[in-house]
Structure formats: C-alpha cells, structure tokens
Assembly symmetry: C2
C-alpha cells in the first residue's frame, strides 16, 4: 500500500476527550474515528488490525472444533421474554419497535437466538456435543460509553455456545475453549492471564476470564506468588485470619468525634490505625417476595478493607443486586447518619467480615451523630452477628489455594468462558432425546472474546512515547518503507520502488511512504502507527547499496545490503 | 470437515412458506434459518458461501484501489437530518431512541456517515480521488420482507463511496468500479449483465445495475439483439413509432359496453385488438407547492402497453412519487368510473404515449359509465394533449441505440453503481481546498453489491431438481467424500480416511460424510448441498483400487484410481 493512495489520517495532537492511552493512540494513529457516543468507524489501519485479530480467533476456534454461524444483530422480543431477560436486563438492552410496532432488541449477546436454533435443529444425543460460534457486531447501550473501542456501545465480539448432555462433556469443551483462548492470546503476542471469575448475573457455575495485563486495566486480578492460582478480585476468596481473636482489654467508651465521618478522619482524630476501626455499611436485605416490606442489613468491615459487592450480594440475607440504604433509611434504623453508624445495639442483622470479626478493642460509630465508641469487643458488646467473607483481598493476604501470598495486578478483560448449565436451555425447553430415548434438557457453555476490545488492550500493553508497538501478528503492516526525499532523487525512488515490489511479491504487507513529506514527519507517522519493521532508504547508505532496518519493538537498527532485505525479514 | 462433527441440517420437505426456489433450497440445504420476519441466521454451510462471496468482492475492490473501512450499524439522527433523508425516507428507515432518548437509525446505507468522515479527514485536493468501502451488516425495515435472504431486513452489503473534484475523475473511478464488478461476477461464476439503470430517488446522473440472469428475477431487463445496449426496463426508452399517423376514416360513435371495464373485456366485446384501444389513467398532477390544491392529469396508453411509472413521474406535469386518483376523484373529474374513462372532452391535462398517439380510429372510454367511443381520432376528437414516452418497452421494439430489436429477460439486481454528484456533499458541505486554494464541494459516486443477496441469486441461476449447483468458486465445500456403508467396512473406512487426509492436505475444502446413513441419504444430501465434486467410495470399485468421481455441475461420472484423485481434482 502506498500512503499516497491510502487514508493514513494520523494526528500530532492528543485529542482532549481521549482519557486512556489506547484511545489517544488509536485516534492519533488513524485507527478509528468517533461517529457518536460509543460508536466508532474503523479507518483502514484500524480495520487491518481488527481483521487480523478476528482471523486468529476464527482459526483457533475452528481448530478447537467449533463451527461458525452468523446470527442477526436484530432479534425479536419474544425470545428474550421466554428466557426472562426482557424484564431482567436494564437499559443496556436496547429495545425498539419495527414499522409494525413489534418489539425487537439489538443483540448484546445471543444465548436466546442460539438456544432457539439448537432446540429446532438438534434432536438427538448423537448430534451432541456441538459448539457454535460467530464473530459479529453487538450492541450494548452503555450508560457511559468511554475509552474509545474499549467500552463502546457497538462492538465486535466472538461468541460461542456449546450444548451437552452431561457435565463431563461440558467440561471437555470448556477445557478445549480454555486452551483455544490460551492459543489465541499467545498467537496475538499478548501478555495475558486466565483467572477464575465470578459467574455473575449470567448465571452458571464455573467461569474464567482472560485478561491482558496492563497498568491501566479496569480490573484488579489476583495471583499467588507461589502457585498457578489467579482470580479476578471479585472472585478471590479472603481466608479468615489464623489463630484466635485477641481478648478484650478495654472497656467500651463513647468519644466525641465531631466532623469525623470517614475512616481517615476518625483515624486521624483518634490516632488509631484504620485497621483498628470497624466500618458499618447499611444495605438492603433480601426479600422473600416482592410484596414483603424492605428490610435492612449491616455489613461490618475493617476500616482498611474494601467491601466486595459480589461477595456481599451472594450472602443469603443481602439483596442482589446490592443496594445501599439512603441516609434517611440509615438514620431511621440506627438513629445516626452514615458517618457515625456502628454495629453496637443494632436491631437489624449484622454480618461481619472475617478480618473485622478478628478485631478486639476496636473503634466504631456509636449510632449517635458525632460520636464513636472505642474499646468495642465482639460477643461482649455485639452479641448477635454472623461472620462471612465480605471484603476484597489485599496484597500480602494468604492465597486461598494454600500456597504463597497474593499479588495484585491490573488487567483488561478480553475473554470470558462460562459453564452456563441449564440457565437458558431450561427456560427455553431446549432438549434432545438421550440414549434412553427420553427428552433431556441440554446443559450449556458460553465463550466470549471481545475482538474489537483486544485491539485497544494490545495498545495499552504495547506502546511507548512515540506510539503503538504492535505485536507482529496483528500489526496493520509488517514493513514500512521510508525513503528520504524520494521526490528529489531518482536513485532513492528506484531503490524504494524495487524494495516495495520485492517485499510485496514475497508476501509481506508493506506500507510504502511515497508522500512528499519531510523525513521527520514520515518517521513520526511510522512510529505512531507502530509498523514493526521500518526500512529507511537514504542517499548515503545507497552509496554502499545499503539501507537501514529499524525494529520498532526492540529499537534495534541494522544496516543491510539491498539484496539481503527480503531474506533478513523472512528470517524474523 | 466431517459431517458427524458439523451442523448439516438438511431437510427433505420443501418448507411451505418459501415461495422461490433459492429460498426453498437454502432452507432445505441447511444454509439459513429464519429467526423472525426478514431476519436470518446463517448456518455453517450458508456462511461458508457468504464468506467466499465476501472475499471475492473484497479482493476485487482492493485491486481496483478502493480502501476498506468499517462504519457502525447504528447511526445518530443528526447526520440524517443534515442530508434531509431523516424526513424524506419512509418507514424503511428504522428509527429508534437510545437510553438517553436520543434519536438513532439502523443504517440502510452509509452516505451520511462516509460524507461526514471524509469532510473531517480530507482537506486537500491532493488526497483525492479516494474510494472507501465496507462490507457490513445493514438494515432496511421492508414492509413485506420475502424470498428469504433475497429481500431480508438485515443483510450484508458491500458499499463503496468515492470522492472527487471533477466529473472526469468521478467517471474514471466509476469505470474502474464497473470493471471491478464485471470481475467480481465473472469470478463468482455467474451469468450476469450490467444494464443502464434509472437513478431513482437516490439522485444523481449516471447509473448501472448488475443483474444475475434468472427466470425468477424480479426485474425485467432489456437487451438489443444486435448491440451491447442493455437497460433495466424502468430506464429503457421506447422510441416513437416511425412514419406518420394513419388518417381518420371513421366517425366517432358511442357504443354501449355494459360490464366491460378492462381492456380485455372491451376488446372481446367490440372485437377489436387491445392495440387499437386507448386506456386512460388518472393520476395526481405535480403541485407548485404543498399548499396548492391537488390537480389531476390523464395518461393515455395503448391497451396492450404497460405504464412505466418511473417515466411518468419524471414528466413535469405528474406528481412524484406517482399516485393514482381514487375512484371518487376520477368520477368527479370525468363523470365516469375508471373503467369507462377516455381522453375525449377532458378538462385536465392529457399526456399521450408515443405509441398511443400514433393510433387512428381507435376505441376509448366515453366518460360515461358503461359506454365507449369507437372511431376516435387525435386532433379531430382530442385537440389538446402532449405526447411523451410513458410505457414499458416490449419485445420486438426497436432498440433505442438504433441497432436491432429489443429482447426482454429477467434479472436479479445484485450490484448498482451510481454517479451521485453533489447530492450529499452539498447538503453536508463536504468540500476541500482545490488547486487554486479555494473551498470546493466534492462530487461523489457510490457503488453497492448485495453480498447476501448474491448467495440467493446464484442459486436461482444454478439449480436442478436435486438441489443447488454451486459455481466452484463459492461452493461451501469443493469436494465431498461419500463412503458407502463405511461403518461396516474397514477397507472403505481406510480408503475414505486416506482420501480425506490427502485432499485436505492438498488444500481442498472437503466434506467427509462419515455419518451412519444409507448411501441414498448421503447422495441426496450432497446433491442438495451442491458440492461440485463428489467422490464415491464403494466396495466393488475398491477391488480395483478405484473410486467414482461425480461432477455435480455436468453430471459426468469418472472412474479414478485412488492414487489419481488429488491430481485429477487439481487439474479442474
């Protein structure tokens, strides 16, 4: 490709509205352009990368025995009503009416459509297991789309769905998908980790996320420093402290803490560490049915620990999704505003995190505005409570696998595999005749890869101050030819044209920068665009029939004879 | 691919709701399944064909210098308001609101989005011409989706848009696209014709359609039997009859024609040929502005000719889009119901088709229910009228190119190229600095290929009573291996497995039918699916180390040594 006949669209300035580096670089390198909130047009360079990611995903899915199909973007409401998601999903599910006033959605995922297809096409156990996938445009009406294609409303996803008659068969396909995902991210050239994940609202029993490691990642992922254990922090279990709780040594005392509402303020005022303060959060309790009156529950954590909402909402006493009580509701039930609340004397259920339950002589709100208690002790001052795992793990916690301590890093979720079980197949009565000739509901797995998100994640992980450093497998072009002042030198033009022909004939994807631009502009654009190998053709080197080969990833430069260029590039 | 690990999904019965052969065969061969009205899931075999069509289109577009991008399905309303199509388009344009109650559409085409992109990215004449294309999912909310993927609501389209500063440059790209389309349809292995087309509602000056010839085609296309002339019947000019009109010989007379309302009824009653009767259609006249009262116009054609609505609505006196007057409106202006209307004595403008204007002593309605006139003559009985081309050409008409006579065949429109001019660029102020440094609005071309429609059109053109006869270039598999009773014979199994390995290693796409099915079922499925080459492995032939090779397209059968199969197939 010649830049003169291409839409390069690079920008020098960093766009003001791009918050993260991948978004900035994708705009600056001419990869995407914003059409409207969360909607992006892929420019030629971006699309080249996207298609390469897509093709690697496709090849590995095929290799793992999955079969490609293509389902519509637009889906009719009836299927979503049948699965129950029409009511359950919030406004992220974009609903609309067609010209005949029938209800439709823009598909955010395709569990309903594929389950409907399979229940119609598959009738016998002999046709199972089957794993169907598509690489397709999806839409999720995010409340706040951001970070460019990282969290767009319209995006490209690979979604696969497998169907089985036994947990063993599901596990086999799940394992094959796990391996296929490892192959995909390895081939993409990305530093990634599969981690145990929470199965969340989608239901099901077993789940792994695949994260591209990057300091800017939205997710905290947790590793053991001495084993293979890896989990999303949402999922990572915090083990109860070892040993027995220290004995009480202090009497409970009420102290005035005017204007000290946060843990930090109380800690500073009373000169006690946050880890010796118990914080109390009032949340909605789980109701037996919709008509029951709303109850409240108190969650107690150590002041230096964070509530893990996923863990909390799994507790049988706590409403799911988690909802915090309003200031008025807190005041009505405790007698104090949220900044002065504590577990002493509460009449609502109290659930205490394991670590908080290990405290003695601790500080907590006195349920009286502007006052705290010191010297509080469980069993003496708080007699009715439950203990549970409610907090996020922190670095240094013992690994739940029993080996080593936990380390926390940041990741970008780019893949997710689930054992769905019968969540959809039961609701939609998707079954087949089993070996005994009886109708049996199928069990399902689902397996997603965020194809367009991978492009952004790859940049978050691979960039420097000059631009993108594409892994070779997904670079928009493998080689750039940068001739210096070609339009003034026939010799340079001839050499560059000759190289362009040789490299193209040899099967390389070459970007030949034939613009009338200053060398500095051309270098900057090729660095920004992240072409892995750049061949610089200049007068002085041509005196010796040589050109310079620059490796964008390592920064290494190499002088090469013109006649050696193709062989050298092939050897990489 | 082994059928046992594939989703074949063939059906013996013809689905009742499939009206045309391609729809029937796509359902029966397991190519697509209907999700909802006009929405189809592509099953594995269908998707394989779709992707091959897509790839041929992509390669030829790239070769012609077009650059691939990818624009969103979902587009915000503002752009459509800017171009004026938000108001102009009817309910085919699916409009909806997002969670923030902002207006969006599902893109049926992308003129607005690409014009917006180009006006932002291209600022100088040096960057022109440019031709950007995408292969992308589109949505058109058809009032009555039908014929499967032939006229679906969600479909896959290749749409390209070129930008220029001169008509000459536009013509060059238009010619290049014309050639690229010829290459595409030739490579696809389809019998096609490019034809002159009307530019229609999209505006612009020059346009060709590309039709796949098939008896079932929705469009009538017109050829000269002695030249290259080819046009859509909508566009084909009907030349005025040669020579002068015969002189009047009869006096006008009123005859009773009770219950004779149609041309056929009048012709039978009065024993005159339909070609000697003039029919009169009352339509809405064009209004100077919205507030003017509605006028009416009479269109007069020979009884054996059909009105060409496109030609009529281009007439300056006729409303566009064409609208027929109601029975009440006809009666109020003529004094008679539509079956007895004629041009004699009308007070509204009368426009007479060239052929009708050549009649003498003809029959026409008497503007009195149940009566016609005979012996009517222009200029004597009808004094005020205009003459224009209003009718569809018929077979045998002289070609408008001046050479030969017209032949009419049926076609399926699968491609369309347009010279759009400044229709969008002017409305959206898309300009660049020209060589003189002045801002100049760009002129545009647009070029569409119905990728998913091609799959259906290919079947309409290539099938027999057993199923689909895919052109090799787009067949889902090139070769099928059909072993007879493999599960009872190790020898057959070994030979089939060996062939499968050899053919796959040689790069063929092979469907290996390893199901425990009767040979008849397997043969029928492979014929239905239309695999071009089928290798039948049977006991008797194996005695001589031979297999049978059947050509699905020609029906020829060939006995081949096992060791010659790969070489033979490579030689085709």
């Amino acid at each position: 490709m010649r830049t003169s006949q291409y839409l390069l669209s690079t920008m020098k300035e960093t766009p003001a509205d791009a918050e993260i580096i991948s978004h900035q670089l994708m705009l600056r390198a001419g990869m995407v352009r914003r059409l409207a909130s969360g909607l992006y047009t892929w420019l030629p360079s971006g699309l080249r990368v996207l298609r390469k990611v897509e093709q690697i995903v496709r090849e590995e899915m095929n290799k793992a025995g999955a079969i490609e199909v293509l389902m519509p973007v637009v889906q009719h409401a009836e299927l979503w009503q049948e699965s129950g998601r029409w009511e359950k999903m919030d406004a992220e599910l974009l609903r609309f009416k067609d010209r005949h006033q029938r209800d439709f959605v823009l598909g955010p995922t395709h569990e309903e459509v594929i389950t409907d297809l399979v229940r119609k096409e598959i009738s016998s156990y002999k046709q199972l297991p089957i794993n169907l996938y598509q690489i397709q445009t999806k839409f999720r009406d995010e409340r706040r789309p951001r970070f460019g294609v990282m969290r767009a409303r319209e995006f490209l996803m690979k979604d696969a769905y497998s169907f089985h008659l036994s947990q063993e068969s599901l596990q086999q396909t799940y394992d094959a998908m796990y391996q296929a995902y490892c192959n995909i991210f390895t081939r993409l050239g990305l530093d990634f980790r599969p981690v145990l994940a929470d199965t969340g609202a989608i239901g099901g029993s077993m789940s792994h996320e695949f994260h591209v490691l990057a300091a800017s990642g939205e997710d905290a992922i947790v590793f053991s420093d001495s084993s293979d254990y890896a989990a999303n922090i949402e999922k990572a279990e915090a083990l109860p402290p070892q040993g027995t709780r220290p004995a009480a040594t202090q009497a409970k005392a009420e102290v005035a803490t005017p204007n000290a509402k946060t843990i930090d303020e109380v800690s500073a005022l009373l000169k006690v560490d946050a880890s010796a303060i118990a914080k109390t959060l009032i949340v909605y309790g789980r109701k037996a049915d919709d008509k029951a009156p709303q109850t409240l529950v108190a969650l107690v954590l150590r002041g230096d620990h964070e509530l893990n909402e996923i863990k909390a909402e799994k507790h049988p006493l706590v409403a799911s999704p988690l909802q915090f009580a309003s200031e008025d509701e807190v005041q009505a039930i405790t007698g104090a505003k949220p900044g002065s609340v504590g577990p002493v004397g509460l009449t609502i259920p109290v659930i205490v995190d394991h670590a908080a339950a290990h405290l003695a002589d601790f500080v907590t709100g006195a349920n009286k505005d502007g006052f705290h208690f010191t010297g509080v002790n469980f069993d003496r001052d708080i007699t009715t409570y439950q203990v549970a795992d409610l907090r996020n793990v922190v670095e240094g916690d013992p690994s739940p696998c029993g080996q080593g301590k936990l380390v926390i890093r940041r990741g970008i979720e780019v893949g997710h595999i689930f054992q769905l079980g019968e969540r959809y197949s039961a609701a939609m009565k998707a079954g087949v005749l089993n070996e005994e000739g009886k109708h049996q509901i199928m069990t399902m797995g689902c397996y997603g890869v965020g194809v367009s998100r991978i492009v952004a994640a790859a940049i978050e992980q691979n960039h420097d101050e000059y631009g993108i450093k594409w892994p070779v497998a997904i670079a928009p072009f493998q080689v750039a030819i940068v001739p210096m002042n070609m339009h003034k030198s026939v010799r340079i033009q001839d050499a560059a044209e000759q190289l362009y022909k040789e490299l193209t004939d040899a099967g390389f994807e070459v970007l030949f920068d034939d613009r009338k631009e200053r060398p500095g502009v051309m270098f900057a654009d090729m660095e920004l665009l992240g072409v892995p190998y750049q061949i610089i053709v200049g007068e002085r080197n041509l005196d010796e029939q040589k050109v310079e080969l620059k490796n964008r990833l390592s920064g290494e430069k190499l002088m090469l004879s013109l006649s050696d260029v193709v062989a050298q590039l092939k050897s990489f």
